[in-house]
Assembly symmetry: C2
Homo-oligomer: 166 residues x 2
């Protein structure tokens, strides 16, 4: 089976799937960010704090002390996994979404209010000089709503028409 | 600042850090797995179920329906993020570990008892023909014990002398 045929297991999303995907992004305050390690050229995945921009594009607050920050400066292609795994039940039965995206470093001050409204605890470190704000341009997404419920979504399915600069 | 200098922010682990890292791996039943997407060559991160082998190497149960499985067959370099983010408090203040590893597809039957003892809910699908077992050979690890507590660990710090074949 080729990867193309396998991609066939991902269904076209219906309204319910789109709403689920959007709500996972709206509620996520952290995620697993995968980037390319500039030293090994292999992937590396770390936890990041985040909030949604007005159009729902994820905003990541990243520190120079974390390996993902330097990696994103060198290669903007990245992936973000969102969705809590509850402590009870099979973690694979709970919904999560994988975004494939490009990262852009943006003006932190512009997004300050939006970010801190959604992630007030970041007030402790948001303004530190070694913290930066990264905005993800979503390319595509895979929603896994639990066993047998896999959907492939586009950026258009996820984003709203909110002001993309905030 | 070069990446090499930045690496200096990762401390050498003491016994407490090593114990914390080991316990995160021992207790994890799921993680965020980053692989290289064979189509885009960018990273892609998805949720996987897992259990520790006798020597603490992570064992992942992966399905042909998930994009990571085909990706790992084509490029074994991967990364795994482990550690729960509690629902209260800043998710960045809670410990997690990033492993960099190589993935090896192994004989599923050999690890059946070990896997299902740690992950009994997988009995529903462990024996399905499209599920495979992958064992990670750890190359190195980054432990983030919360703000300002970052350690770089080696495979030797994490693995025990348990029988590596189970």
């Amino acid at each position: 089976m080729t990867s193309k045929e396998k991609r066939g297991v991902f269904r076209q999303p219906d309204q319910e799937a789109i709403r689920l995907a959007q709500s996972i992004i709206d509620e996520a305050r952290y995620g697993a960010l995968a980037v390319i390690d500039p030293e090994t050229r292999g992937p590396i995945v770390t936890r990041v704090g985040l909030a949604p921009a007005h159009d729902r594009a994820p905003l990541l607050l990243v520190s120079d002390l974390s390996p993902h920050t330097d990696a994103l400066r060198q290669q903007s292609a990245c992936s973000l996994l969102l969705g809590d795994a509850p402590t009870k039940g099979d973690p694979l039965a709970f919904p999560r979404i994988t975004l494939q995206a490009n990262a852009h470093f943006v003006d932190k001050a512009e997004y300050r209010e939006r970010y801190l409204t959604h992630y007030p605890k970041a007030q402790l470190y948001f303004d530190f000089a070694d913290f930066h704000l990264v905005r993800l341009s979503i390319i595509s997404a895979l929603l896994n709503g639990g066993f047998g419920k896999a959907f492939k979504l586009s950026a258009t399915d996820l984003l709203t028409e909110g002001d993309p600069s905030t």
